[in-house]
Amino acid sequence: MLRETGARQPHLNCYMVNPDLLREYPSIPSVWDEMYDQQAVRKHYQDVHRFLSHIAPEELGKKEELAKRLFMSQGVTFTVYSSGEGIEKIFPFDIIPRIITGHEWDFIDRGIKQRLKALNLFLKDVYSEQFILKDGVVPVGLIYTCPHYLREMQGLKVPHDIYVHIAGIDLIRDHDGTFYVLEDNLRTPSGVSYMIENREITKRLFPDLIPKNFVKPVTQYPNILHRNLMSLSPRQVSNPNVVLLTPGIYNSAYFEHATLARLMGVELVEGRDLVVDNHKVYMKTTDGLQQVDVIYRRVDDDFLDPLVFNPESTLGVSGILSAYRKGTVAIVNALGNGVADDKAIYAYVPEMIRYYLNEEPLLKNVPTHRLENQDELMHVLANIRKMVVKKTNESGGYGMLMGHTASEEEIEAYKKEIVKAPRQFIAQPIISLSTAPCYINGKLQPRRLDLRPFALCGPGGIEIVPGGLTRVALKEGSLVVNSSQGGGSKDTWVLAI
C-alpha cells in the first residue's frame, strides 16, 4: 500500500505550476488579453508568468499587504475629509505589472508625437490666424461654442509656440489589440507620480524581476520636465525661479504636486504665496518678494485669476493673466488648451494631422459621432444601446451613458437631453477594452485597462518617458477605468528588448 509520507510543501516545489493561480484564468472571449493569446502566454509575459507559477498564492497576498503598507507610510495617499477629520486613502494598486513590448512602444511613441505636434499647431492656429477654420476643416461654430475656448488667449504669443508642455493622452486597445486614442488630456493631466511611485513599489515587491526583464526606467521624468520648464523663463537669468502651483493640501492630487516639486527641487506654492505687482509675479518669502519666472500650474484655467475668471476662487492669483499677457511669466500648460481636448473637437484630430502635417494619423481615433450633424444624431438615437454617450465638458467618467447596461429610464432621460443640446454630447461605439491579469481575492482575474503615457514637449522636441499610468477597472465587468469610478492602477513596464 502506498502512503503519503508527509505533507507536500507546494511553495518549495519549484517545478509545480501553481494550479490555483494560473490554470483557471477566466479569459473573456473576443477580448484582447495582454498576457494570454488564447491559451498561450505571450512572449513578453513569459518571465513574469514563470515567476507567478512558482509563487504560492498567499505570498502574493503578502506582497499586496506590503504594497498597501508602503503607500501608507510614504504618504502616497489622498485625504478624504469627513466631519472635520481627515481619512487617508490609497489609490488602489494592483501588484501584477502591465507589460508593453519595445515594438508596441515604438509605435505608441511615434503616434503620440505626431498627434501632439498637430495639436500644438492647432492651438497656435486657433489662437492666431485660424487657417484651419477659414479652410473649413474644423467648423467655426464648434470652436466658439466650446466653453474652454479663451478669448483672452487670442493673439497672444507663447514661448516657443508651445501650448501643450505636458500631455497625458489616454490609449485603449480593441479586441484585436489595435491602439486607439480615447482622449487627449492637454490641460492639467495627472497621474504621473503613480508612474514613478508604482515602479518604486514594484522594485520592493518583486526583487530582481525588473532588471531581469530589461524594463526601461521612468525616473528621468522630473529631470526632463524641469529642464523644459527652465527653458521657458522670460528673464535671461542663470537660475530662473520655477514654481509648481497647487490648489493646496485638500486637493486629491496634492501628493503628486508635492512629489513633483520635491523631485524637481522647485518651490511648491499656493495661490496665497504669490502676488502680482506691476504685471510681474512674485512669491512671498522670508526675505521679501522674489520674482517668479515659470509657473507649472496644477490649477485649472477657471480658477487661475479671480479678476478674469471665477471671482469666487481663492486658489489663483489676482492679476496673473495680465502678467502672462505681458510675457513676464511663463505658465505651463498654456491657458485655453481645453479647446483642443474638448470631446467634440477630438473627432477632428485626424483631420488636423492631415491638414498640418500632411501625414496619415498613426494612432486611430475611436469613431466619434458628431451630434450637431442631423444624420449622425438620428443614427445615434436609433442605436443608442450600442453606444457610449459622453458629455463634452465633463471628464473623470462622470456624466457618461453606457448604452448596453443603462436602464430604459436612464436612456429616455438621456435622449431628451441630447436632443435639447446636441453640441454637448458625443457618441462612440462601445470599445471592448483589453484586459490584463489582476490579483483579486487570491486569484488572477482579467480586468479592463487603458494606458496614459506622459509626453513632455519642450523647445528641443517631444519626449515620452517609456511607461505611463495604466488604469484598471477593478470592478468585475466594468469598462470604466477612472479612479472616481472604482479604478485602480498598475505599474507599466516598457521592455527594452
Partner: protein
C-alpha cells in the same frame, strides 16, 4: 524660503516639541501616581498642558486613566498628543518638498500610529508606560531623523527656532506651575519625591545628582532649569540655541526683521545671563517667570510679523 513654508516648518517642530514634552511628563507622573508615599494629583500637569478650567481639572485630577485618555487620545482636547501629531504632520504634509523624505515618512508613520484605535484601548487597559514608550520612541525617531538627514538651510533654522522657543516656554511654565504649589517660596522644603519627579519629567535628574549630589533644594532646581547652560532643557540653553539658529538667517534682504528679533533674543538672553538666584528672590520667582514668559511670547509674535506674514 516661502513665508508659508517657514511658518509650517516652525509649527511642525513646535508641535513635536510640545508632544515630546507632554509625553515625558505623562510618563513620570504616571510613575509617581503609582508611588503611594505621597498625595498624588494630576492637577499641575492638567494646568500646564490643557485649557481646562478649575472645575474641569477638579473632575479629572484623581483619575489616572481618564487623564491619560484625555491627554493622549482625546480628539476634543486641542493639546492632546493625538491633535499635536495630526497638526504637526499636516504642517509637514504641506512642506514635503522642504523636508527630507525620511523625515516626512517618520512623521507620517507617527500619524498613522496615533490614529490606531488600539492605542487608546491599550492606554485604558494595559500598562500605560508601554504605550507611552512606543510613542516616545517615535518622537525620538523624529529628533534623530531631523538631526541626521535635514539639510542645514533656512528650513532647518526655522524648525529649530520652533523647537527651542517651545522648549523655553515649557521650562518656564513647568517651574511656574510647580512652584505655585509652594507659593513660590524657594526656601520652602518639599517632599523629595516631588522634586525627583519634576526633574525626571524634564530629563534632568541625572544631571542634578551629578551637580548637587544628594540634597534636594528648591533653589538648585530653579538654578538648573533656568540658568544651567549644559542642561538641554533649561531656559538659557534654549535661548542660546535660539540665538545660534536665528543668526544663520542673517542676510542683506530682511535686515529689518533680523534686527527686530535679534534685539529681542539678545535682550532676553542678557536678562537671564546677568541675573542670579538672589535677583530672582528679590523680584519674586513668579514675577520673574512671568516676565520671561512674556518676552518669549513676544519673540514668537515678532517672528510671525517679520518672517511668516503671507496672507
Amino acid at each position: 524660503m516661502l513665508s508659508r513654508v517657514a511658518d509650517s516648518l516652525y509649527w511642525m517642530s513646535r508641535y513635536m516639541e510640545r508632544t515630546d514634552s507632554i509625553m515625558r511628563m505623562l510618563k513620570t507622573n504616571y510613575a509617581s501616581s503609582q508611588d503611594n508615599i505621597q498625595e498624588f494629583t494630576w492637577r499641575p500637569v492638567l494646568k500646564i498642558f490643557t485649557y481646562l478650567d478649575d472645575d474641569g481639572i477638579g473632575r479629572m485630577q484623581d483619575d489616572t486613566r481618564v487623564v491619560l485618555q484625555y491627554m493622549v487620545a482625546d480628539k476634543e482636547n486641542p493639546n492632546s498628543v493625538y491633535n499635536m501629531v495630526v497638526r504637526s504632520r499636516e504642517n509637514a504634509r504641506s512642506v514635503q518638498d522642504h523636508i527630507t523624505k525620511e523625515l516626512w515618512q517618520c512623521l507620517n508613520e507617527f500619524y498613522h500610529l496615533i490614529k490606531e484605535d488600539k492605542l487608546s484601548i491599550m492606554l485604558q487597559y494595559d500598562d500605560p508606560v508601554t504605550t507611552l514608550d512606543i510613542l516616545i520612541r517615535q518622537s525620538m525617531l523624529y529628533y534623530g531623523t531631523s538631526e541626521s538627514t535635514m539639510f542645514r538651510g533656512d528650513g532647518f533654522s526655522f524648525m529649530n527656532l520652533g523647537r527651542y522657543l517651545e522648549r523655553a516656554i515649557q521650562a518656564v511654565d513647568i517651574l511656574d506651575v510647580r512652584f505655585s504649589d509652594l507659593s513660590y517660596d524657594m526656601e520652602k522644603t518639599a517632599d523629595v519625591m516631588y522634586w525627583k519627579h519634576l526633574l525626571l519629567s524634564v530629563s534632568g535628574y541625572a544631571l542634578y545628582l551629578k551637580t548637587y549630589r544628594s540634597a534636594f533644594e528648591a533653589r538648585n532646581i530653579v538654578n538648573q532649569i533656568i540658568f544651567n547652560t549644559h542642561f538641554p532643557r533649561s531656559v538659557l540653553y534654549s535661548l542660546n540655541a535660539l540665538q545660534r539658529y536665528f543668526d544663520r538667517l542673517q542676510n542683506d534682504l530682511n535686515t529689518e526683521g533680523y534686527r527686530a528679533i535679534n534685539f529681542r533674543i539678545g535682550k532676553l538672553r542678557s536678562k537671564i545671563q546677568y541675573s542670579n538666584l538672589q535677583h530672582v528672590s528679590e523680584v519674586g520667582l513668579h514675577n520673574f517667570l512671568s516676565s520671561l514668559n512674556h518676552d518669549l511670547q513676544d519673540i514668537g509674535n515678532a517672528l510671525n510679523q517679520y518672517y511668516f506674514a503671507y496672507s
